[in-house]
C-alpha cells in the first residue's frame, strides 16, 4: 500500500506539473489587463500541433519546438491586434467573451488544418521508465517539471525585476495612469498576449509526448490550467505552480484511493472550497477595494 501511495504521488506531481505549466500562461495576460484568456488552452494546443506538423515536415525536434513556439506567439500577437484591440475600452467581461470566441475559432482552424485525430509527439529522451523506489515515471515528466520550474522563475523575474515587466503590471493596476507616465499600454497588451501564447506553446510541446495532442486538447488542459491558476491566486506565477501540483496530487490520490469516477469531482470541489474560503486563491494578493 505505501508503494501504491508513492506511485499516486509521483503520478500526481507529473500531471500537476502539466497543469502548472498551462496555468502559468494565464498569469501574464491577467496581470496586464485583468482578463482571463480562455484561448490559453488553444495556445497550448497550437504549440503542440504546430510542433508535430513541423516535425512531420522534417525539421529536427529542437528547431520544430522553437519554430512552433514563435509561430504560436505570433498567433497570440495577431489575436490581440485583430480581436482584442478593436474592442478597446470594452469591459473585462466582454473581452473574456471575445477570448472564448477566439478559442472556438482557433479550434476550428486546427481541425481543418490537422484533422480530428490525436497525434503523437516523440519523447525528448526516450520512453524507458525511471524507477524511483516502487514507483516509476517517464523521463518526459522530468522535462515537464524542469520546464515548469524554469519558466516560473523566468516569468517571476520578468514581472518583478525588469522595467518591461513592471510596466506590464502597471497597465493592469491603472491603464490611464500607466499611459500618463509614458507606458504604451497598447504595445504592452500585445506583448502580454504574445508572451502568453509562447508560454502556452512551450507547455503544450513539453506535455505532448505524454498527453498527445488533438484539435480539442486545449479544452480540458485549459480548464485544468485555469483551475490551477485560480487555486494558487491568479496572476501569481508561483501560485499557478503550487495550484497545479496540488490539483494533480489530489486527483491522483482521489483516483487511486477512492475512485477514478470521482477524480474530477474531487478536484473541482477543492477549487470551490478554496474560492469559498480564500476568494483570491491560496497565494493571491489580498485586494482591498478602496471606496
Amino acid at each position: 500500500m505505501p508503494e501504491q501511495i508513492f506511485q499516486f504521488l509521483v503520478t500526481g506531481i507529473t500531471v500537476g506539473a502539466i497543469y502548472a505549466l498551462v496555468g502559468l500562461g494565464f498569469a501574464l495576460i491577467y496581470n496586464a489587463s485583468d482578463v482571463v484568456n480562455f484561448a490559453q488552452g488553444e495556445f497550448v494546443m497550437l504549440g503542440a500541433m504546430t510542433a508535430i506538423a513541423l516535425l512531420g515536415a522534417g525539421l529536427p525536434l529542437v528547431l520544430a519546438a522553437i519554430a512552433a513556439t514563435l509561430l504560436t506567439a505570433l498567433v497570440g500577437l495577431l489575436l490581440e491586434r485583430c480581436a482584442i484591440e478593436p474592442a478597446r475600452g470594452a469591459s473585462v467581461v466582454t473581452t473574456i467573451i471575445i477570448t472564448i470566441g477566439a478559442a472556438i475559432f482557433l479550434r476550428g482552424v486546427a481541425s481543418l488544418l490537422w484533422g480530428k485525430n490525436s497525434l503523437p509527439f516523440p519523447a525528448f529522451s526516450g520512453n524507458e521508465p525511471i524507477h524511483l523506489g516502487g514507483a516509476t515515471l517517464l523521463p518526459q515528466s522530468l522535462w515537464v517539471l524542469g520546464g515548469a520550474v524554469l519558466l516560473v522563475s523566468l516569468t517571476r523575474a520578468f514581472l518583478n525585476r525588469t522595467l518591461l515587466g513592471k510596466a506590464l503590471l502597471a497597465c493592469s493596476f491603472n491603464p490611464v495612469a500607466a499611459q500618463l507616465v509614458g507606458i504604451n499600454v497598447k504595445v504592452m497588451l500585445r506583448l502580454a498576449y504574445g508572451l502568453s501564447a509562447g508560454l502556452g506553446a512551450i507547455a503544450g510541446i513539453l506535455a505532448a509526448p505524454i498527453t498527445f495532442s488533438s484539435y480539442e486538447a486545449g479544452i480540458m488542459l485549459g480548464l485544468k490550467g485555469f483551475s490551477a491558476a485560480i487555486v494558487g491566486g491568479i496572476g501569481n506565477p508561483m501560485g499557478a505552480v503550487a495550484g497545479g501540483l496540488l490539483l494533480g496530487v489530489l486527483e491522483a490520490l482521489g483516483a487511486g484511493l477512492i475512485s477514478s469516477g470521482y477524480k474530477d469531482a474531487i478536484a473541482f470541489v477543492f477549487v470551490l472550497m478554496v474560492l469559498f474560503f480564500e476568494p483570491t486563491g491560496l497565494f493571491g494578493h489580498k485586494v482591498a477595494e478602496r471606496v
Binding site: T11, K116, I210, G256, G261
Partner: protein, 380 residues
C-alpha cells in the same frame, strides 16, 4: 362539347405524363446524421467521406434504378438531442427514403422511437447491441457489437488458458456498454474479473487505476474504449512495468492507435474487422476483393481507411441493394428487402439478416489481431 372533352383528356394525359416525368427524374434521397465534429468525429468523418464517395460512384454510373441518389447529411456533434432533431427534419422536411447513420450508439438509441413511429428504415453504424436487441421493425445495424468483441477476446483468453483478468474502461457510452457485456459474458467463459477500474476519456494519465491493477493477481488486462485514452492506458501499462498480455477492443483498430501508443503497442491483441488486415487474408476469402476495392478507392482520395468508414460503406450498399430489389422507394418494401439481405459481402463481414437478427454478422466477422512491428498480424 366533344372537342372540349378531348382537350380535357389530352390535358389530363399531359398532366400525368408530366408528373411521371418529374417522378422519374426525382432523386432517391438517402438521409444521414453523423458525428462529424465532437468527440466521435474521427468515426463520423470517414463515414461521411465514404457515403459521399459511394453516392458519387452510383451517380457517375447513372444512379440507382435510373434515378440519381441525393445524400442529405447533418452533423450531430455527438449530441443525442441534436440527432433526434435532425432525424425529425430528415423525415418531415427532407422526406428521405431511407436513413443510414447514427455514428454513436447514443445518437442511434435516441432516434429509434421516432424512426419506428414514422415507419422509415434506419441502418445504424453504431456498435451497441441494444440497437438490435430486442428487434425493432425498422432498425438495422451493420457494425459489430461490443458483445461480439467481448466474446472474441474471451475465446482468445481461453485458448491461452488465462482466467484471471483485470478490466479497465473509460466513461464513454462505448466503454460502458463494452464493460457491461464483458461483465455479463465472463462467467460463460469461466473467467474471473479480479479488477474493474475506470478512467475519464479526457484523462491524460491512467497510472493511478493501473497501479491498483498491478497489485492484483491478474493474468491479463482488458481495456475497452476508443480514441486516445486506450493509447495512454497502453503506454502507462508499459511505464508501470506491468508485464501482462493486453487486450484492446475493436474501437482502436486503426493506425492512429499504433502511432499514438508507439512501442508500447507491441504485442497488444484486439478483435478487428477484416478491413485492417485485408492484404493478409487468403485469396480464397470472398471478402478480400471487396475490402481491397474499398480500401484502394478510399485511400486514393482521403488517406488511411478506418473500419468505421467501412461500416458506412456496408450501410449505404445494403440500402442501395434493397432499393434496387424493391424496384422503388416504397418504405415498406425497402424495409422488407433490407431484412432479406443475405450473403451481402461487406467490409465488416458477410451479412445474413433475418427477421430475428437485424445485423446478420457472426463471430467470424472479427479477426483476432496482434500488433507486431507497428503493423497488424492475424493470430488465429
Amino acid at each position: 362539347m366533344l372537342k372540349s372533352g378531348l382537350l380535357r383528356i389530352f390535358l389530363t394525359t399531359i398532366f400525368f405524363a408530366g408528373v411521371n416525368l418529374a417522378n422519374a427524374a426525382e432523386p432517391i434521397k438517402i438521409g444521414t446524421f453523423l458525428s462529424i465534429t465532437g468527440p466521435a468525429s474521427f468515426l463520423g468523418d470517414p463515414e461521411l467521406k465514404t457515403l459521399q464517395m459511394v453516392v458519387e460512384d452510383f451517380n457517375a454510373k447513372g444512379g440507382l434504378n435510373g434515378r440519381k441518389i441525393e445524400l442529405v447529411h447533418y452533423d450531430t456533434g455527438g449530441n443525442a438531442r441534436e440527432a433526434l432533431n435532425f432525424v425529425k427534419r430528415l423525415i418531415r422536411k427532407d422526406q428521405v427514403d431511407v436513413i443510414v447513420g447514427g455514428t454513436t450508439s447514443g445518437d442511434t438509441l435516441a432516434v429509434m422511437p421516432e424512426v419506428e413511429k414514422a415507419g422509415i428504415s434506419l441502418i445504424s453504424l453504431a456498435g451497441a447491441v441494444e440497437i438490435i436487441e430486442p428487434v425493432r421493425k425498422w432498425v438495422f445495424k451493420v457494425a459489430h457489437t461490443d458483445r461480439m468483441a467481448a466474446a472474441k477476446i474471451f475465446e482468445d483468453l481461453k485458448k491461452r488458458h488465462l482466467t484471471k483478468v483485470a478490466l479497465i474502461t473509460g466513461d464513454g457510452g462505448f466503454d460502458k456498454s463494452g464493460r457491461a457485456q464483458i461483465l455479463e459474458l465472463a462467467p460463460e467463459y469461466g473467467i474471473t474479473l479480479v479488477a474493474d477500474e475506470s478512467y475519464s476519456n479526457k484523462d491524460t494519465d491512467m497510472t493511478a487505476p493501473l497501479t491498483k491493477i498491478r497489485a492484483t493477481d491478474a493474468q491479463a488486462i482488458i481495456n475497452f474504449g476508443f480514441g486516445q485514452a486506450p493509447a495512454i492506458v497502453t503506454k502507462n501499462i508499459k511505464q508501470l512495468g506491468i508485464d501482462l498480455p493486453v487486450y484492446q477492443s475493436h474501437g482502436v483498430a486503426s493506425k492512429t492507435f499504433i502511432d499514438l501508443a508507439g512501442e508500447a503497442a507491441e504485442g497488444v491483441r484486439l478483435p478487428a474487422a477484416a478491413l485492417v488486415v485485408a492484404e493478409q487474408l487468403p485469396d480464397t476469402d470472398p471478402q478480400k476483393p471487396v475490402l481491397l476495392a474499398y480500401k484502394k478507392e478510399y485511400e486514393a482520395k482521403h488517406g488511411a481507411v478506418s473500419t468505421f468508414g467501412g461500416h458506412a460503406y456496408d450501410g449505404v450498399m445494403i440500402a442501395a441493394e434493397a432499393i434496387k430489389r424493391a424496384g422503388g422507394t416504397d418504405k415498406t418494401q425497402v424495409r422488407d428487402e433490407i431484412e432479406k439481405t443475405s450473403g451481402f459481402i461487406g467490409t465488416a463481414g458477410i451479412f445474413h439478416m433475418t427477421p430475428e437478427d437485424h445485423m446478420g454478422l457472426n463471430l467470424d466477422a472479427f479477426k483476432m489481431v496482434e500488433i507486431r512491428d507497428g503493423g497488424w498480424k492475424i493470430v488465429e
